[in-house]
């Protein structure tokens, strides 16, 4: 009898303990952020480039006490860079892992996860999807810290047809050829570039779409060179771009090249070789003078953190994660709770411009300002991060050229010049 009572007492104490621990446990549950990106397959490098930057910001948040005591944790959703796997990964992140927000997806798999994101109202901030499919996809929960390909394409055409945006003494292009890889992320550029060249008074002599991932592109290059181009706009993954450019070099081509943001970085020079890419033009998003100083500080910080240079989409990821983390903090400070439904509103609250707002450039700065009762306007590495009604950012574009084995900015096209 005594034994029975003791046992019951122990059970009761344990039960009370568990009940008491319940709410605390819930409070300590991590804030899950889904990384909806390719981690395997041909585009695994995208996930590899994004993840460490996202983790760096999460560590900044977590070491400063988290958000309301809750740490940010990540759940990987491997899209494999294809639509089907992207849909499955989004389904799991949204409905099984119950992530609070998504970082991603890429242009490669956006079409498959679009409806899941919208129907479940999960805020997504993608640092990688420039696809024009996202231009008017959803008003409430879709955001991106990379400019639309529509703007990028227009910037390329503007620069190639207006000598003020090219290197000193360079001539504008009279007979451009457009080579585009047939993947969702690349084809998105095709129509904007072709239309924009026409808008600026120069017809594209030939458009060549090619299959990505082939070992060589000699036939495609022969077709392109058949139009006697004075410049080729090349829209493809870095690996394919290096092959196309090498094949063109081996076929005797020595005209101009214009590449997109994926190649406008030091990695691409290493991949394609400095000799091959000397003199080519590239596109990149640029920030103000203030933003350029921030970029340098970020590069140093990331080098210390990861022991490597910032890679493609690194700066976009920095902005995306800061926006997500600050929105979570703002949401928590509003009413003590963080929900998917309110998080999207707070993404706008921490990033929209305003005269009464304090401009911040990092999570730590933003946290201090929010805790001081101020409203904040996050200013990013890739621009001011002012989302339009559809979650797009408008950024000025830098026109860069490889000079002496490194990228140099030769001109900046203001966003207003692309209207």
């Amino acid at each position: 009898m005594i034994e029975f009572t003791k046992r019951r007492a122990c059970t009761a104490i344990a039960a009370v303990g568990l009940i008491a621990a319940g709410p605390v446990g819930a409070q300590d549950d991590p804030l899950k952020v889904g990384l909806l990106l390719p981690f395997t397959g041909q585009y695994a490098w995208v996930g590899e480039n994004v993840q460490p930057v996202a983790r760096m910001i999460a560590e900044e948040v977590n070491t400063s006490g988290g958000i309301g005591g809750r740490e940010i944790s990540f759940v990987q959703g491997d899209t494999e860079g294809v639509v089907d796997a992207g849909t499955t990964a989004a389904q799991k992140l949204i409905n099984v892992d119950n992530v609070m927000a998504l970082v991603g997806p890429t242009s490669l798999s956006f079409s498959g996860s679009k409806n899941l994101i919208i129907d479940n109202g999960v805020p997504m901030v993608t640092p990688t999807a420039g696809t024009t499919e996202l231009d008017r996809a959803c008003r409430d929960v879709c955001f991106r810290t990379v400019p639309s390909d529509a703007l990028g394409g227009r910037a390329i055409a503007r620069a190639a047809t207006d000598a003020q945006y090219l290197a000193e003494g360079a001539s504008t292009w009279e007979n451009p050829v457009l080579m585009v890889a047939q993947s969702p992320a690349m084809v998105s550029f095709l129509e904007p570039i072709e239309r924009s060249f026409a808008d600026y008074g120069t017809e594209v002599a030939r458009v060549i779409e090619f299959t990505p991932g082939k070992p060589s592109y000699r036939a495609e290059v022969q077709e392109a060179l058949g139009a006697n181009p004075d410049g080729i706009v090349l829209v493809a993954a870095p690996e394919d771009s290096a092959r196309v450019m090498t094949n063109a070099f081996q076929s005797g081509y020595d005209g101009d090249w214009f590449v997109t943001q994926d190649q406008t970085n030091a990695d691409y020079i290493d991949l394609a070789s400095a000799e091959l890419v000397e003199g080519i033009y590239g596109l990149e998003e640029v920030a103000s003078e203030e933003g350029q100083a921030l970029n340098r500080a970020f590069e140093e910080r990331y080098q210390d953190y990861a022991g490597e240079e910032v890679k493609i989409f690194g700066t976009n990821t920095y902005d995306a994660m800061n926006v997500v983390a600050l929105a979570m903090l703002s949401d928590h400070m509003d009413d003590g709770e963080i929900t998917r439904a309110t998080l999207a509103e707070h993404i706008r609250a921490v990033s929209d411009p305003g005269e009464d707002k304090t401009q911040v450039t990092s999570y730590t700065e933003g946290k201090q300002a929010l805790q001081a009762g101020e409203k904040i306007d996050y200013r990013g590495l890739v621009g001011p991060i002012d989302f339009d009604d559809w979650g797009n950012i408008a950024a000025p574009f830098g026109i860069r050229q490889v000079q002496g084995g490194a990228w140099s900015t030769v001109a900046v096209i203001p966003a207003a010049a692309l209207d």
Binding site: E48, E209, R218, A219, Q222, T246, S251, D267, A272, S273
Partner: protein, 285 residues
């Protein structure tokens, strides 16, 4: 002029395919199963070569050392994964080889990362002959491919090992009765097969400029096409099949549609198989 230019390109691509196909079909001839992890021998060859070149070895020596190293890996893979399953039928072997392929791919990804890396061949201007551009890289590829195929021919025809390999391929029981150690022949076959695969991978890396963990897996499809076209199990058939597939891909891409170059490889394969179901040299290997 474009036709001749395309033939040059097609022969070089065909050389890469032919070398790889010879490696694959050699192992098939002796073991009678298709090794789906063969593409990974190509990938390993390219990565080992890259690693050794980065360590300061000349590219030619790095290529040779990489090929030998991958040959050893081939023997290890066979002993660890395939040999224990040899008596269980073809299906377990086939599925295991797919599994081995994924394991190797991901091991490469762990050590080398997923980002493509440039193969360290210097950029070379093409040789121009009367308006025809002949890339020097392609001359290297053709040269290595011809030497490799000649070496395989000499091995099979004029060495004791080659004769033993052919004997085991024809009838393993009879070969054993004749005093040939199947074990040693199997080891030698896997070594040579993987080594040639590695050379194919190095030539592929020269062709496509960059190396990446999935490069061999992606290329395996056209290698299979060449093996089937030539007659599975026939090294000479694989050589001819590889060259024909390379030519078909480049000619089709130039004169019909560049996007469907892989399709032309298989159109040619289907046409040949309709006329000769065992391939060009099937049964005569």
């Amino acid at each position: 002029m474009i036709f001749v230019q395309t033939l040059v390109y097609g022969l070089a691509l065909g050389g890469v395919i032919a070398v790889s196909a010879v490696g694959l079909t050699l192992a098939y001839g002796v073991t009678r199963f298709i090794n789906f992890a063969f593409g990974e021998f190509l990938t390993l060859g390219a990565f080992f070569c890259l690693l050794l070149a980065q360590a300061g070895l000349g590219l030619a020596w790095a290529g040779l050392a990489a090929a030998v190293a991958v040959g050893a890996v081939g023997v290890l893979v066979e002993r660890a994964f395939y040999d224990p399953l040899m008596s269980r039928g073809l299906l377990p072997l086939l599925v295991t080889s797919v599994g081995v392929a994924f394991v190797v791919q991901n091991l490469i990804r762990i050590f080398a990362g997923s980002n493509p890396v440039r193969f360290p061949l210097p950029l070379m201007r093409p040789i121009e002959v009367g308006g025809l551009f002949i890339p020097r890289e392609q001359l290297i590829i053709l040269g290595v491919a011809l030497v490799t195929m000649l070496a395989v021919h000499l091995l099979l025809r004029f060495t004791m090992l080659g004769k033993k390999m052919r004997a085991v391929a024809d009838d393993p029981m009879l070969a054993r009765v004749a005093g040939i150690s199947s074990r040693r022949v199997l080891d030698a076959t896997w070594f040579v097969s993987a080594m040639i695969g590695a050379l194919g991978g190095i030539l592929l890396a020269i062709t496509q400029i960059t190396v990446a963990p999935q490069m061999g897996w992606h290329f395996l499809l056209v290698v299979f096409a060449a093996v089937l076209l030539g007659g599975i199990g026939s090294p000479y058939g694989a050589m001819i099949g590889g060259l024909l597939i390379g030519l078909a891909m480049e000619l089709g891409a130039t004169y019909v549609a560049a996007n469907y170059s892989y399709a032309f490889a298989f159109i040619m394969l289907i046409l040949v198989l309709i006329l000769r179901p065992r391939g060009l040299m099937g049964g005569s290997g």
